[in-house]
Symmetry: C2
Subunit: 102 residues, 2 copies
DNA sequence: GATTTATATAAATCTTCATTTATACGGTGA
DNA sequence: TCACCGTATAAATGAAGATTTATATAAATC
């Protein structure tokens, strides 16, 4: 995977994976531990840790160790805002499609 | 490739490819023919047509045939706006990195 | 200190997809 | 209608990456 977000396509690549995007969505509302993310996503622990590593290296999330647990959160609200801005495109294309379908 | 943008991760997947993103960027300013895009991107004609097909199916661009040529453009300004919003994240992370580096 | 829990990483596998190569199709002009 | 230009598509190829499996590390509890 990409080691550092140096281009816009790299950022999109990072967000293109459903598991990673799901993690970003889960971390929007609150700070969560890895095990909490494993439970919420239904993915294996190594897989979640793997994706967290990528998100971490890219600077989208950051983890803080408290005892045995590591809690992750989004590094900045702007991450979420940009994602939401793109979601409107999807919503728009859906309503567009349904309008055409009628 | 994805046949229809039904989820947000699909949209990111479509935009994650450098060639496709480059095409979207080129189509922001103006309407262009396939051959113009081939020249501007330096990619092969079949490859550009292939990516245009994906962008077309996903509803990000639309083509209009005039004689032998097909001219493509973004379907909506909101496509470009969403992309620009994400670019700010990349720019932000760059300045962040340079700030840390100092 | 040994065992268990929480997390991280490495190697292996398997799928997806970007690109190339070859070809077809529609329009245009001789 | 024949040759050519612009564009589209299909098959083949190769690389990238998502997921699994196995294992390592670090902290907590006994």
């Amino acid at each position: 995977m990409v080691c550092k977000v140096k281009s816009l396509s790299d950022l999109f690549q990072v967000l293109a994976d459903p598991t990673r995007l799901q993690i970003v969505e889960l971390l929007n509302s609150e700070c969560r531990s890895v095990s909490a993310l494993v439970k919420a996503t239904g993915r294996s622990q190594p897989l979640v840790s793997h994706h967290l590593r990528i998100l971490r290296i890219c600077g989208l999330v950051e983890g803080e160790r408290r005892g045995a647990m590591t809690y992750y959160r989004l590094t900045d609200d702007s991450v979420w805002e940009a994602v939401e801005r793109c979601r409107q495109l999807v919503i728009a294309s859906e309503t567009e499609a349904s309008r055409i379908a009628v």
